[in-house]
């Protein structure tokens, strides 16, 4: 047993380690911003085509035929949103822009859904 290690008051070394570990918090937030997967494609599901993947690259508006009529999905700056849909609730339109991979929205009455996809997406979730 080392007598020097039985001290109960924290020393300079302890404070240095504390500061080092505290610095890891903003650093990890910084890395996280870089590591976050950026979506590059959108999967649109409709009664016509079942499921089709489009690129998010050029900004445009896609018109998708659904059960009630045409839903418009606007793609801009790597994000997507429903701009119009022939449903009554308009939850799809009100949900606004979706920009994260895995994020998406469905217009259930019109049977049209969209999901943003990133190249490194393998799972949505895993539980055990």
């Amino acid at each position: 047993m080392n007598a020097a290690l039985t001290i109960t008051r924290p020393g300079i070394g302890d404070l240095a380690i504390l500061l080092l570990c505290l610095m890891l918090i903003p650093l990890s937030l910084h890395w996280l911003g870089k590591a976050r997967s950026v979506p590059d494609a959108i999967r649109i599901t409709s009664p016509d085509t079942t499921s089709k993947i489009y690129s998010l690259a050029p900004d445009r508006t896609l018109n998708v035929n659904g059960r009630l009529g045409t839903s418009s999905i606007e793609i801009s700056n790597g994000s997507a949103r429903f701009t119009s849909s022939p449903c009554s609730g308009k939850h799809c339109v009100l949900s606004g822009w979706h920009s994260r991979s895995g994020s998406g929205m469905a217009c259930l009455p019109n049977r049209v859904a969209m999901t943003l996809l990133a190249p490194d997406d393998t799972y949505d979730g895993l539980n055990y």
Binding site: M1, N2, I7, G11, D14, W31, L126
Partner: protein, 177 residues
């Protein structure tokens, strides 16, 4: 006549380490039943025993207690060779390596607080990287890193206070074993 096996010498130290290892296993099992509001955030109370063994018997014995806790704990809970076991093993290995590095420093530079904080933080970091590499290969899992590091620091300090107070009592009173 069959030759007799040499008698196994069990020292007082061996008994103390066995007792402390079983205590660590018991805390490990009790803690596995505590629900956590954030995935992966746990006080790591079993680490108190590892640190006590470290300060009383040295790094080699602490590594034994830590390894035994992971192995026996997982066998008793029924998580042996499951993702939980590998996360536990990765965390314990990383924290023992981090403690080992600090242990090599000239004595007196770092005390129980620094060792406990670094052990807890390296434990969570290793667990998260293992989870990312083996089980959930999605970069969003790294979003837990700031939360887990913060929790590691808080529980590292909390455990260090407990270790310091137990160590104080143990040096004042003779060991019961």
């Amino acid at each position: 006549m069959a030759s007799q096996a040499p008698a196994l010498q069990i020292s007082r130290e061996d008994r103390q380490i066995a007792l402390l290892a079983s205590l660590a296993v018991a805390i490990h099992i009790l803690e596995s039943g505590i629900p956590s509001p954030v995935p992966g955030v746990k006080p790591g109370l079993a680490n108190i025993i590892t640190l006590l063994v470290l300060f009383r018997f040295g790094w080699r014995y602490a590594a034994w207690v830590s390894g035994l806790r992971v192995l026996a704990g997982s066998l008793l809970i029924g998580t042996f060779m499951s993702p939980t076991f590998f996360l536990s093993l990765a965390g314990a290995t990383a924290s023992m390596l981090a403690i080992g590095v600090l242990w090599l420093l000239p004595k007196g530079w770092v005390g129980v607080y620094g060792i406990s904080i670094l052990a807890a933080v390296s434990h969570v970091c290793a667990q998260l990287v293992t989870a990312w590499l083996l089980f959930i290969p999605h970069s969003m899992i790294l979003g837990l890193l700031p939360v887990l590091i913060a929790a590691g620091i808080i529980f590292g300090i909390f455990n260090a206070i407990i270790v310091a107070s137990i160590q104080k009592r143990l040096t004042e009173q003779p060991s019961p074993v």
